[in-house]
């Protein structure tokens, strides 16, 4: 039982990170029907930006730790959001009328570019977040070890996800996003500026990825320019698992994927873990072809 509970805590932590990244995939997909393969690399850039801010700018300024972390996260998030908007302008907008597949290839090109740019800027070696930055506190509750970073990751992710859900459901901007997701042309006729909506999407998605990147760096301390690719694949799997285009679906998919991975590795075999994860994904899709919660985007038959 203790072992099971530990695995659940670990699974929720990993899943929360997947969910944050999956949200970026799902929002872009919901509005643009684009699988943004560069999204994982936004997340990676967030990790690196947070690292640079911490190491170069804030190391010497004796501010309290929570403020330092807040500033670093804010700058990383802002940086990645700007990058997201820029990438959308340059690499996706010119292709909006020319087919989904063209934009997919463009996204692959962006991904390749960002990875190699990060390698050239920060070096090809692994970088480590400074040990003073990450809170080390951990508790042992009845044999289950829970660390402060784990609670932070789970808490912050849940807050962001709920906040995003309310934003999309309750605000005018959120309504515009939903309307655009259903049909660009109708949305336009109703006076919605589709370009601004897409820009907004490319602020929110990458920003969430950026936050996830900093949290990942603080939790595991180790970052590398290829991290976007592996986490991106998992997060995309999570988005599909929950039902792509569906915001609660990304959350459910992410958390579920994290837990599945941990239980698979914990009880059966770590070497076969990913086979089990993808096997479950395929089985699920056979019986529920649009994911657990289904697709929210309106269907045109």
């Amino acid at each position: 039982m203790v072992f099971f509970l530990s695995q659940m805590v670990n699974g929720l932590t990993v899943g929360a990170v997947y969910a944050l990244i999956a949200l970026g995939y799902t929002m872009v997909y919901g509005v643009m029907r684009l699988i943004n393969f560069a999204h994982g690399d936004f997340f990676m850039m967030g990790s690196y930006l947070g690292y640079t801010v911490l190491v170069t700018f804030l190391a010497a300024v004796g501010l309290p730790l929570w403020l330092v972390l807040l500033i670093a996260t804010a700058i990383a998030t802002l940086g990645v959001a700007l990058l997201g908007v820029f990438v959308e302008r340059v690499a996706y907008r010119p292709l909006r009328r020319s087919g989904r597949l063209a934009a997919v290839v463009s996204a692959l090109g962006v991904s390749q570019f960002l990875q190699n740019a990060a390698m050239l800027i920060w070096g090809a070696r692994f970088q480590a977040y400074p040990p003073w930055a990450a809170p080390d506190a951990a508790w042992n509750i009845g044999g289950v070890s829970v660390s402060l970073m784990q609670l932070l990751i789970i808490g912050i992710s849940l807050m962001l996800m709920v906040g995003l859900y309310l934003f999309v459901q309750r605000t005018t901007a959120g309504t515009a996003i939903r309307a655009t997701a259903i049909d660009h042309d109708t949305a336009r006729l109703m006076g919605i500026n589709v370009n601004s909506v897409i820009t907004l999407i490319f602020i929110i998605g990458p920003a969430l990825g950026g936050i996830a990147g900093v949290l990942l760096g603080l939790y595991y301390r180790q970052i590398h320019f290829t991290v976007g690719w592996s986490y991106g694949l998992k997060a995309f799997t999570a988005a599909i698992l929950g039902g792509i285009g569906n915001i609660p679906g990304a959350m459910v998919g992410g958390l579920l994927l994290g837990i599945l991975e941990m239980l698979g590795a914990g009880y059966i075999s770590a070497a076969w873990k990913d086979v089990m994860v993808f096997g479950i994904l395929i089985l699920l899709l056979i019986f529920r072809p649009t994911g657990i919660l289904g697709e929210r985007v309106a269907e045109k038959v």
């Binding site: 997909y29 643009m32 029907r33 684009l34 699988i35 393969f37 340059v90 690499a91 010119p94 292709l95 909006r96 009328r97 020319s98 087919g99 989904r100 597949l101 063209a102 934009a103 997919v104 290839v105 463009s106 692959l108 090109g109 962006v110 991904s111 390749q112 570019f113 960002l114 990875q115 190699n116 740019a117 390698m119 050239l120 090809a124 049909d183 660009h184 042309d185 690719w229 694949l233 995309f236 799997t237 599909i240 792509i244 070497a271 076969w272 990913d274 086979v275 993808f278 096997g279 994904l281 395929i282 899709l285 056979i286 072809p289 649009t290 994911g291 045109k300």
Partner: protein
């Protein structure tokens, strides 16, 4: 409208044949002027053309998003390696066997998921690719050699000549490309080819005209996977060593990119795009660590300036285009 369309397709036929003639002339003359290294680059180009064409049947002709094509390629390569190691079967027979093995895998693995729509199918094929790769690494029953992979000692023989040097492989690979092109052009004009295109354009309408869409899709997967599997045999004898590292998700992604970069459904497009994906990074070797950066940039630029692909297919209608919604 009808005459317009047929004139278009006549034009494209003549443009296609002009392209193929130029390509053939180039391929015949090229080896006389370059080093073995560039011939080898062209061998891998040819292998990528075979793979790209086989994927093009699935993605281009039928419109099924398959981003795990190297899984079938891996099945073929490993079938050839395992059988040649254990039983020393003639390579040409093996090529056929591994094609059949991959075709069966293509049928069995995709049968339950054929009803999935676009992006879900894409994710599932990615999952299949990962499942196969990880299985190869985990060395089930000691068959696949784990991460080390397998050594392939046998080679193709043509009239007693062992296919070994770069120029031998060059002739073999491009000979196979020529055969495949001939078959594909026949296939496009056949009933099956037309059925595929109906399914792609409008599955519901196709069903109502009496086409069994499920069968049409399965057939595309089987043929595409089979060709990829047979190509795997060539790859195995060319590399002499195969390991799971060659059959990654990234390799599938770049195959997918080849089909779209070329112009979905376009045969000359696949040839051009796989050439570009192969030759560009080679030409950029002088940039050392900057070269993959420029390569990524080149991919974006190519799509922006030629969003329909390098050589758009006239047989691929505008219905699937239009970015806003399906």
């Amino acid at each position: 409208m009808k005459t317009e369309r047929s004139r278009m397709s006549r034009m494209s036929v003549s443009a296609n044949s002009a392209f193929l003639m130029v390509l053939a002339a180039f391929l015949i003359v090229f080896p006389f002027f370059v080093s073995d290294y560039w011939i080898d680059v062209c061998v891998f180009w040819g292998i990528n053309v075979l793979l790209g064409l086989s994927l093009n049947i699935i993605v281009g002709e039928v419109g099924l998003f398959n981003m795990g094509h190297t899984a079938f390629y891996a099945v073929g390569a490993y079938t050839a390696a395992i059988l040649s190691q254990r039983f020393g079967i003639n390579m040409w027979v093996l090529m056929l066997l591994s094609g059949v093995a991959a075709a069966i895998a293509g049928n069995v693995l995709t049968a339950p998921i054929m009803h999935l729509r676009g992006d879900y199918l894409l994710m599932v094929t990615v999952g299949l690719n990962e499942i196969i790769r990880i299985t190869l690494i985990n060395n089930p029953f000691g068959l696949t050699g784990g991460p080390n992979g397998l050594i392939v000692l046998d080679q193709f023989r043509v009239f007693g000549r062992v296919i070994q040097s770069p120029i031998d492989f060059y002739v073999l690979v491009w000979g196979c490309v020529a055969l495949l092109l001939f078959a594909l052009f026949r296939l496009q004009r056949s009933r099956i080819g037309r059925a595929w295109n109906y399914v792609r354009e409008d599955a519901v309408a196709a069903e109502s005209t009496g086409i069994n869409t499920r069968w049409a899709k399965s057939l595309a997967f089987m043929i595409g996977a089979g060709i990829a599997g047979a190509t795997g045999t060539i790859y195995a004898t060319k590399m002499m060593v195969i390991s799971p590292d060659s059959f990654t998700f990234a390799a599938s992604v770049s195959l997918f990119a080849i089909v779209i970069l070329g112009g979905t459904g376009s045969i000359p497009g696949v040839i051009l795009a796989s050439g570009a994906m192969m030759v560009l990074p080679e030409l950029m070797r002088d940039f050392a660590q900057y070269r993959m950066l420029f390569f990524g940039l080149a991919m974006v630029l190519m799509m922006i300036f030629r969003p329909q692909g390098l050589w758009p297919s006239t047989r691929w209608s505008t219905r699937v285009k239009g970015g806003d919604a399906e």
